[in-house]
Symmetry: C2
DNA sequence: CTGAAAGCGCTTACAG
DNA sequence: CTGAAAGCGCTTACAG
């Protein structure tokens, strides 16, 4: 089934069929013919060949999502938000890499061949963005303080982290451990830095901040905590702040395995507020990072960039268009710090 | 950057460039020219335009994954398995729908326009497969007892469900509740049917089997349990078997909210064995359904079908190629039924 | 072994 | 408002 067949069926030209299907009918196609094309399309069940369309236009309707770590269930809700906003016009192509590994240059190349309408990239490194180049519109997610020439949608975690530190201080904690992600991206650096600063403001210290890190996986986090705990305990650590909820789950598991009570022997907190954090033993105190709004905001910004050209996005954006406000993170206090 | 530019750079024709890039050089391109093309491709950073390639071949390298419920974190590992097996040759396109909703005919249409290399469809209905038609190679995941003309990768849950029933009977349970998924697909019907049958063999009954169901979401499951519990309790239910771990988490939350102790007042079990089930309060007894192997097996089978033509897959498969053995589910007993 | 050329199915100036 | 035609960048018989 091709546009030529539709045209023949409707008694019109392929040009007219194409104009109707692309909504470029204003002053170019008569109402009667618009209707005729629509009827033929419906009757024949015609669908535009995306490859041919992309070839002719120089752009496809594919949006590439580069996520370093789909195993982090946080992405489930981000993706839902993206799909909601993208709607039927664009198709999401997934680039998943190993846990926490940044995609390589050759990964990037493959996607360029798709002539994507745009890229959505979670927590990229500067190097990765350099490789991606100016190929297509781009919005980055959760990449705070990245180069200013790229549109970004971020979280404002400062108040929530302050609240977390105050919360822990009020519970009598004086020395904290920090279980970091192994991914070396700015969002994780910021979480640690802001926590460290907030801890100091609240009369607490963070013990050996670089000691413990793991990929975003429960078992790996449990092992990392197990390795760090002897030193932390010697240092007087009574609370462990984790870079993600998944890390915190690992700590919960390791703590139980070694007979530590939470929060009695050690308090535990995370970042994300995955749904599971309501049912862990004990329920997890965490900084909520709403995933779906992040996905929606990023997708909305990308579509604006695709439709509006350069000045709708971050690329050489004039002063007329400011960045969207960051999404506000909030502290959710539960039993793991009770 | 086009094949023509590569050809010019290498002093050869675009035909030769294409043959080299598609590995069709046997007896068609001299070793020296193969090398020359490779060098030019590398030097110029050339990537084949996928749209043009798909147009010329009539097929793209896109594999469409239709998953009714990406919010189920079970899919994270399935997707990882798929990506592992698909490798760099194919790109995964995501079709996500609302929780538990089957994709519509118009969703299907859109994908046909991509001229996909194949489809991977999780737990489809017969109606959906009819709409999909014979468009491209197809493998379905977790769709037991579906029409036999389609290649499927399934779980063998029978022994695990028997073990689950025996486990519950040995703990003294006599009446079970069943919290079902709202998705009306065969895999969920089977879970309930097999559990019901196994319960009877072990001297137990399942109370009001159709009473309780929800989408695969913690809060919805908690509400469904809350609604069903009064009747179940009156019926003497002491254990609730859930269609997924996520449903079980909802029961755990609802139970805590209403002051029920688990497993003291009510035992709870799930299906999936998500990593979180190790850290819930209490840890969850569940039937483990390994997601990554499911994704890998399905992708492997799809690639075989794409490469081998009709007789490598389920389409009109001769007796020479049997279906792969089902992936075996196993019972994981934990504290929620202790 | 090599290259000229047809053809894949669109989109978009362009002429009318 | 309408249609003929060029052109997008590949792949693949085909002739040599």
């Amino acid at each position: 089934m091709t546009a030529a067949q539709v045209a023949a069926h409707a008694g019109l030209s392929v040009a007219t069929v194409s104009l109707v299907l692309n909504g470029k009918t204003d002053g170019r196609v008569s109402p009667a013919n618009i209707e005729r094309v629509r009827a033929s399309v419906a009757e024949l069940g015609y669908v535009v060949d995306q490859g041919a369309s992309a070839l002719a236009r120089g752009r496809s309707d594919l949006v590439v999502l580069v996520a370093p770590d789909l195993s982090n269930p946080f992405f489930g809700s981000v993706i839902q938000g993206i799909e909601q906003e993208l709607g039927p016009r664009f198709q999401l192509v997934l680039s998943v890499t190993e846990s926490g590994v940044q995609p390589s240059a050759s990964d990037v190349r493959r996607f360029a061949g798709l002539r994507p309408a745009g890229y959505l990239v979670d927590a990229p490194s500067d190097a990765f963005l350099d490789e991606l180049g100016d190929d297509a519109p781009l919005v980055v997610l959760d990449a705070p303080e990245l180069r200013t020439d790229v549109a970004a949608v971020n979280y404002d975690m400062r108040d929530a982290i302050d609240a977390l530190a105050a919360h822990l201080a009020s519970r009598g904690h004086r020395t904290l451990g920090y279980l970091d992600s192994i991914t070396d991206t700015r969002t994780f650096q910021l979480r640690r830095e802001q926590l460290t600063a907030a801890a100091e403001r609240n009369g607490m210290t963070v013990s050996a901040p670089d000691a413990a890190r793991s990929i975003i996986e429960l078992g790996a986090a449990a092992a990392a905590f197990g390795a760090a705990w002897p030193e932390w305990r010697a240092d007087g650590v009574t609370a462990v702040v984790c870079a993600t909820d998944t890390h915190a789950y690992g700590v919960l598991e390791a703590a139980r395995a070694s007979g530590l009570s939470v929060p009695g022997d050690v308090a535990v907190t995370g970042f994300d507020d995955l749904p599971y954090s309501r049912v862990t033993a004990p329920p997890l105190t965490t900084v909520r990072l709403p995933g779906e709004p992040l996905g929606r905001a990023a997708a909305r910004r990308l579509v604006a960039q695709i439709d509006g050209g350069a000045d709708a996005g971050g690329h050489a954006a004039g002063p007329t268009v400011g960045p969207p406000p960051d999404l506000v993170a909030t502290l959710i206090a539960r039993g793991s710090t009770a």
